[in-house]
Symmetry: C3
Subunit: 663 residues, 3 copies
């Protein structure tokens, strides 16, 4: 089990390195990420090299048994690069060239930047590929930089040419007959810089795709260079959960270990479920393989307007949640709190105030706990349910000029996921088009873009017996973000047994629903944001809109298709009703619970990883959770029979324990 | 009676054109606007020409009896124009040059753009001037583009030189002695680009004037070119109601038919009255001649953050409202819903889901209804009341650094107009300076700029017996937006019999008023936004401020001037009090109602056009409206005696019907 | 006693000048600031000179006994300067070059601008240095302009080189090891233009310092030029209270008279106390010497969105408040209201409506009152209390990425100051590092930056018997804005007897406190914004956090240090509790009240200046304030015994009056 964090030794004099290594060892730290922001230290002037200090750092760490995740320092070039080569600097949509003084001042398309990035990477990896302290390679940092400048425009055009072959194919894909946008030649195309009015949404979608691919190309060329020196140790980079800037499904096979940076807001009551969703994404990106929590915060971050702290108990809870959901390691940003720079108030494993602090005591406790969870390493989470989440669809669904900007695909996903989380139902996340026929149920909270392959995957699974549950504004557009003509959702009409003709944003206070009595016992169910003007074409109508533009029309339907059920939730129900609807669908699908008989204590999370059942108390008070049978809690080393008692924010990690119960 | 919409055949394959024409005919469509965004289709590369496809489109439409409003495609140049000639692209106040990818990427001052626009217009008109399907010419689209670049600066300077003759006259008009802004030479003048602090308001006002005039010059040169080929068919362009970018009073005589694009927000309870105001503006721009509703939406638009739909009944109601208020045609944007581009979710006459839809059935019903209203065509609306609305005054009243930005000239106009609308009083809109002596009453809700001619027009009419009602912050400044010295309103003191010395923004919660008992029976009248420190100089004081900075001072006055009454409402009264005050003034003026005896059912609109009396139910429930005498409802073909019964959102169009009443 | 305002004769024809001078004399005006925006009038084209008009203006004013504060016109260059020399124009952080049309369009670093500014200053001063009407020199106007362009970048680098000597010293001061920001050469450094993410806070702090120093250099070179012609008359410029753009402590010794522009918002109930704070700052900048209220408004300003007016009584009250707090003169912007330009609606001494107005009658009354206050001239205010307020600390505390942006140093200062103001306690303001051992008490509401000298000053004074009261988030960082390591506040742990390890933003609704019974009798004391995780190290704990992250930890402490008490308020208490805590500290310190026995009528301000006791009624109703002994009111000339009775917004200025009381 990995434990550690980012370590920036260049911020400290050499005598501190040794103290750090000692304190790390005492805290069970076994992995630190080094060098993420060291380019200017390695290459203080163009072509210069200074690695002697790093030799010493790695040696000291190695001596103390601390492994190193060695980073290519390419996320932040030294200031001299932008001064010598202004074209390496990123340009925003207004044409403003961004300067040094912060970080990430590079254009992903800049040839000169990439040459310099590869040169420093080559020097670094050549020197340390055989160093015994190195355990892993870390390429760049939080890939996400964009640039709208001329070199990016050229790269975008080259990407488009590869995608479409001919400019007429591009014109068709972008629908340039609208608003006189027809391109006669590739050279006429520019990124979606500032325009007079709404930009072409198909162009904007391809720009998103290009930006992700361009960054992936950057990642790959550094990864490939590392591979020429080191064929064995894993290479990765750190994702940022549901970050829209890159499509992680297209990146996943290029990272040897999926790694994530996660900073849930301690003030957000929905943070525990949303964090679980992100963790399930990370596990799913690696097809279930263990992943790594690469960055997190021991207490407060500093980039929000108001940064609430975490208690050590809460920090531990969030760390163990990641382990429960598939992580084989927990790391923080950063080991020792910086004194200067823009992250000087970001919490760390070793605060400004030193080791005799509440935060650092918590870190030591967590290190010990993680060591106790060694039996979990390598364990996998089994799931009956798949949830479809797709980046191009998310991108396209957020483009300009749609029925309502209140329908947010990520919020829709989170709302549906929270139902699973609260019920202790395990799920995998899958991109559109993935074969899902092995699951008992597949949820599609919102899938604006739907191509034929993706529709077929849903159809095939449903026909074979999977329960399909589809949310509103799904199947609206094709892969180019063109609206499909005919009654919607065109490619799923047959499966869902309904069809629609109008997407209908709902009034601010929503509308009432009339719901079948066996579906929900809620007092006054309502829906908001969006509804659809539908007709049932074979589906059973389980709920209808009670008034307004859609009065009498179907809101929730269920249709038998082959051996499966296909549900359609054509609106955004209130939280209770959504729980009832999804719950009914899951029940009919026979989806298993993690801890049968555990009841549903609000705020208590139940996860099974391998043979270990985790019970996580996200509430601020003690809870008692009934559990069948005899268990051992790996964290306390004590037996647990019938029920587990947890203090606020405490966790149990239960394995079967055949010993007789205490009488 | 015209019925139709925008039609963009270039978005569809040829086989669809024939289906479209058939469906149009079935829906009673007789006019479609073609080619608004076709430039890139006509001229896919510089100098190329491709009109063959349009030949076929016009032939097909003509064969089906659908007339064509043929547009010059100049609103959106092809991307190649901006690539070859970057100076044709518009520049924003920060110097950012806007690019292709949306629409309207042209600078109105660009010589190169104008040459290309005229060349493609020439080719188009030469080819189709004799085509039998063409009924009307449509120049550009929604003129409103601005540009702050260097060529625009030069054009602005040339415009100023024409206006002022000498740079010293400009210095005087702009008051450049303030803040050391004196210009020694024309060449020093730039548009109001981004400045350190507040820009000179006189400069900003002239910039607005220039922008409107520059666009008018664009319109005129295309219109003149059309006239060289076709001396007969009407030429127009589409206005956008109370759009501040152009002054329609200066454009009106250049359009053969006034045409408007109107998209009231279905979620705005004040939309019916505000729409009526816009329709009265359109009628008034043409001196009462019939106008054309050129664009509207069958259901939702897509450019608001949350786009509420309309029912077919509501769409029909809004269409018939336009007819009632002088339109001889109702068109929509657009015939067939686009699949791609930024308007893909804008409702259309033919939705994505096809003809078997609620929306399309509503379109067909409306087409039939409009055919029934043929007797209305050419009819005029007679009005006893004029309302002064002036663009330069609106512009100037919105410039920086005024007593309060809560006093919005358009909102002020709307508030006063709603009193007329609710009472069923017909009115004309007039610009400042127009002779208004033929009206029983003239309302001036707010006229910040007042030149001597405009003041004389009001004085003359009042002296001759017209009732004048003037709102606050009127007559503040001269035509250069310089504040007039002396007690205000300087040019109307004699007429109003009051004078003031301080404009006084009121506290957030307003102030109470003491009101003469015969003026209002409201329980606790209040005023807000702004008051004025006034003294009566002969006027009767009808209401005073009850407390605060203005305690005891006049708020509403009435002054006999010659044969007329001059009322002054020196604040923003609450809705009830405003209704009482304006109502009292109208009553004293002997203003006629549209349907005497009809009572005042809230949300029921009454309009008389020619011999037809329209009763429009804007409420969501049924209403019964008493009507004297015997009528025939053109829409139902049924007699109406004593009272008209209307379902929610229904309309009656009554003509006198001498037949005996049904016993 | 000075009385007058800005006068802009170039806005008016010559015949008005004489009328103005007559009206000024009648209103007791004796000082007008002339020429602030006259550059374009003096130099209408490059190198031209036109001073004849000003000869006449000064002669007319002199003849009428009106003195002149003659301004260098350098705040606003003529438009031709930016046209001829675009590099003189300021550039914003996005690279946008700002243009003429407003004011202040200059870059403080522009060599060409400075040459032109000195040339016109030389011509002006050479001509008028001996003119008898000139009483004072006014350099520029409201120095505050910033520029991020290339010439500014060069000047910033030169400033940095002077500050740091070597680029390595700069790297250390800026902590450039963070985020790979190491600079190899001075030439790589740029201003904090737009960056990808958070800018280095040390760089941002130095940019603030540079901007203030650069403007001071501008001021000094004009001041020095004036001195070559006139060695005697005072030279000054107008500060803007708590304006962050310049650090007035570094400017104060360069102005012969401290002058301030003050525009409190009439709608802000806290304006009276906040205005008093600003006035105390002005007095303190001059080490207690009389200062000048250089600009204020007779009624409304025009640059807020909604500009509430002042009554003449309120304007008089605010003017006399300045006198009470050390001003030897009261001036307004401006004498005659402008007709054009962006300040056309700013109130003036002579409104558009002329002299027969409420505003002008108030001006005349004020002029007479000020004449009656001649005995106050030169008088000083004695204070027992010092309040530390430091610009670099304010700047640094507002930089990006801190624990919370809700902790605003200025708001914190104002909250603490209001306690003093409400209790009638006089105070001086002092910058960090000033010797404060002469005060009974020193308040440090928040001092984020704390260098060793500043800490020593506080330590020394406390040890010698001064009561020290320190607020939260103090002593966090060193002079480079680097966080000090170790438990905080590192340099004051010994004095305060506490130490902390975590700054803790508090939940939106705050937390409860448990408070020692003798400290506060408030019903349910709470704190918000921020708390700190502290341990007492010898201090008495007077209040603790009742729940949440900090439950049980100290919130308010008191520590005996040498002969003094050191209080620590480690959070933002509610208003009542803050009053109780500071009140208890002041009481223990034996701080004197201005008017013992006067009670504490809310909204009544008590100030003693020299021998005069001012009683100012800021409430909208009459008040009676008990006063011991026999007094004469300078304003009414009437005796005041036992109690002073004041109408709403009225003022008394009491001197001892040995006459027997009226029986």
């Amino acid at each position: 089990m990995r434990f550690g964090g980012d370590y920036n030794p260049e911020q400290w004099p050499a005598h501190v390195w040794r103290e750090d290594a000692r304190l790390m060892r005492e805290a069970h730290v076994n992995l630190v990420t080094v060098g993420v922001f060291s380019w200017a230290r390695y290459e203080p002037s163009p072509g210069a090299r200074d690695f002697a200090w790093l030799d010493e750092v790695l040696d000291v760490l190695g001596e103390h048994g601390v492994g190193v995740d060695l980073a290519t320092p390419t996320a932040s070039p030294p200031p001299w690069l932008g001064v010598l080569h202004p074209d390496t600097l990123p340009v925003d949509p207004d044409g403003v060239r961004l300067v040094a003084g912060s970080r990430n001042q590079f254009s992903p398309a800049s040839r000169v930047y990439r040459e310099h990035a590869l040169a420093i990477t080559d020097a670094l990896v050549a020197r340390y590929a055989a160093h015994p302290a190195v355990r892993m390679w870390h390429v760049g940092n939080e890939f996400g930089q964009v640039c709208y400048g001329d070199e990016s425009a050229a790269a975008f055009r080259a990407w488009l040419e590869r995608r479409y072959g001919t400019v007429e194919a591009l014109n068709a894909a972008w629908g340039t007959t609208v608003w006189s946008q027809h391109y006669a030649d590739w050279s006429e195309i520019v990124p979606p810089r500032r325009t007079v009015y709404h930009v072409n949404p198909s162009q904007a979608l391809d720009w998103r795709r290009y930006c992700s691919d361009q960054l992936l190309a950057l990642y790959r060329e550094q990864r490939d260079l590392i591979r020429t020196y080191d064929a064995e140790r894993p290479v990765t980079t750190n994702f940022m959960g549901f970050f829209p800037g890159i499509d992680p499904w297209t990146w996943a096979e290029d990272v040897d270990v999926v790694a994530d940076d996660a900073y849930p807001d301690p003030g957000d009551p929905r943070a525990p479920a949303d964090a679980a969703l992100t963790q399930d994404l990370m596990r799913s990106l690696g097809d279930g393989a263990p992943w790594l929590l690469m960055e997190s915060a021991t207490s407060a971050v500093s980039w929000r307007p108001h940064n609430l702290p975490k208690s050590p108990e809460r920090s531990r809870l969030e760390s163990l949640q990641a382990v429960a959901r598939g992580a084989d390691g927990v790391c923080f940003f950063q080991w020792r709190a910086s004194r200067s720079g823009a992250e000087r108030f970001h919490s760390a494993m070793l605060p400004h105030a030193g080791p005799e602090t509440r935060v650092h005591r918590g870190v030591r406790r967590l290190g010990a706990d993680l060591a106790r969870l060694a039996p979990v390493v390598g364990g996998r989470v089994a799931a009956d349910v798949a949830v479809v989440v797709d980046w191009p669809s998310w991108w396209a669904s957020g483009e300009v000029a749609r029925p309502t900007d209140r329908l947010d695909a990520l919020e829709q996903l989170r709302a549906w996921y929270r139902v699973l989380w609260a019920r202790g139902v395990a799920c995998d996340l899958v991109p559109a088009g993935r074969d899902v026929s092995g699951y008992r149920a597949v949820l599609v909270p919102q899938l604006y873009l739907l191509d034929e392959a993706a529709a077929d995957a849903l159809r095939t699974a449903t026909h074979a017996g999977t329960t399909l549950v589809v949310g509103p504004f799904t199947g609206v557009a094709d892969e180019n973000a063109h609206v499909r003509t005919g009654r919607f959702p065109a490619l799923l009409r047959d499966v869902l047994g309904v069809s629609g003709e109008e997407w209908v944003p709902l009034p601010d206070d929503g509308v009432g629903l009339d719901v079948a009595a066996d579906l929900s016992a809620g007092p006054a169910p309502r829906a908001g944001v969006l509804g659809e003007l539908l007709e049932a074409e074979g589906a059973a109508v389980l709920a209808t809109f009670a008034d307004g533009h859609l009065a009498g029309g179907p809101a929730v339907t269920r249709h038998a298709y082959g051996a499966g059920d296909a549900w359609y939730v054509a609106t955004v129900p209130d939280e209770d009703l959504l729980g009832d609807v999804l719950g009914a669908a899951l029940d009919r699908a026979g989806v298993a619970l993690v801890l049968p008989g555990a009841g549903d204590a609000p705020g208590v999370e139940l996860v099974r990883r391998g043979d270990v059942r985790f019970v996580l108390n996200h509430t601020a008070g003690p809870v008692t959770v009934p559990v069948d049978g005899h268990h051992l809690d790996l964290l306390t080393g004590r037996p647990v029979d019938d029920a587990v008692h947890l203090a606020a924010h405490d966790v149990a990690a239960l394995v079967d324990h055949p010993t007789e119960r205490t009488p």
